[in-house]
Symmetry: C2
Subunit: 221 residues, 2 copies
């Protein structure tokens, strides 16, 4: 596992993101940027996704955190290549951080790179990193008012994974309101209801992701 402290913030983020995208494409990998508030369950979703798909496609992971290597350690335990970025205070990943660490992964051997962004519902949505797709998690324990309060992330994401639905009976969250408000912001949003704890709904997500990786492979080859 490599731990990199990335401190410099690049002005032309989108230009670097385009370079990253080109490098990922030439290597034949599909790249997904996963975003959420802190504690929505990104790392656990990535663990479950790897467990479901690792015999079918080759996966690498880039972990983004303010500090610490807990998440990368959890991924490494599953036997997939992983790089940890410590942003040293920055509340999001940017294209330059990804550019600096992408060659630490064996890109040409991979089909899918999963980037786990810093836990934050705001800035990660503003910074492209060279991904093919953004996906966001929302824990239903966060309540049902998030789409209208953090609209950009819902607009920028292709998939919304509603996690911790096992907690639904113990919260006041209205799942229909979350879905309705999310679709009003982004009518193309693909919505999944899952519990990473019980496993409910996860195969819908992993099957869909696998089909995207395969489609991407056919498209670029």
């Amino acid at each position: 596992m490599k731990v990199r402290l990335v401190t410099n913030i690049l002005e032309a983020n989108d230009r670097i993101a385009e370079q990253n995208k080109k490098i990922f494409k030439e290597a034949g990998v599909f790249v997904i940027n996963i975003m959420s508030a802190p504690g929505a369950g990104k790392t656990t979703l990535i663990e479950k996704t790897i467990q479901a798909l690792k015999d079918k496609i080759k996966i690498g992971v880039i972990e983004g955190d303010i500090a610490g290597t807990d998440d990368a350690q959890r991924i490494e335990n599953l036997g997939v290549p992983v790089v940890q970025i410590n942003t040293g205070g920055a509340c999001h990943l940017d294209a330059n951080m990804i550019h600096e660490v992408m060659s630490d992964l064996p890109l040409k051997e991979l089909d899918l790179v999963i980037i786990e962004n810093v836990g934050n519902l705001v800035c990660p949505a503003e910074f492209k990193v060279g991904e093919d797709m953004k996906a966001m998690l929302l824990s239903i324990a966060e309540g049902d008012d998030k789409p209208l309060k953090y609209p950009l992330m819902f607009q920028e994401s292709s998939a919304l994974i509603l996690n911790k639905i096992d907690l639904l009976p113990y919260t006041n969250a209205n799942l229909d309101k979350i879905k309705k408000d999310s679709l009003s912001l982004n009518r193309n949003l693909k919505i999944f209801e899952v519990s990473c704890k019980t496993g409910e709904g996860l195969s819908n997500w992993t099957n869909w992701l696998q089909s995207l990786v395969k489609k991407h492979k056919r498209f670029i080859l």
Copy 2:
């Protein structure tokens, strides 16, 4: 240098924060800046705090959100003066935003101003706004790894309110780990365990806050 730019922004912010603090002090109000990840329950805690204290002390609220006025509406329904700041994309409140709206509150009639920051565990901890005290909420549904992953917020806060403890039987979160790791970052942190849903533990928090407001009043008069 880009790092210098960030330093300058923070320095400029801190100067305005000092001005705000002076204005609040001259008006005789105690100011608390409440921070958390999205959906930890800041607005609900503020509602419960107002309900518990509004016959004892005079409270005003400044609401910070990326977009929308839902939170300010909820506070206004309780009959206390409230101002909504929409940051238009910024992931935190800064001193200048507070400076611009503070005169919209009847400061001289108030004992306590509660500022609800944007839901984000990162940048709000870096930007002083002129508060006397920072407090943070952590929903136990976010898991027990947050202190070590978002250390600055735990270091900057005087109080940590562990919310949604009614969900504890349904999660894997280890409350002792949260408390131990939080105190290792900030041994002076005052920790409260509450459920805004059931009301459990709330009076410990509101009694403590009320005593701080009274102490502050005696100190500045």
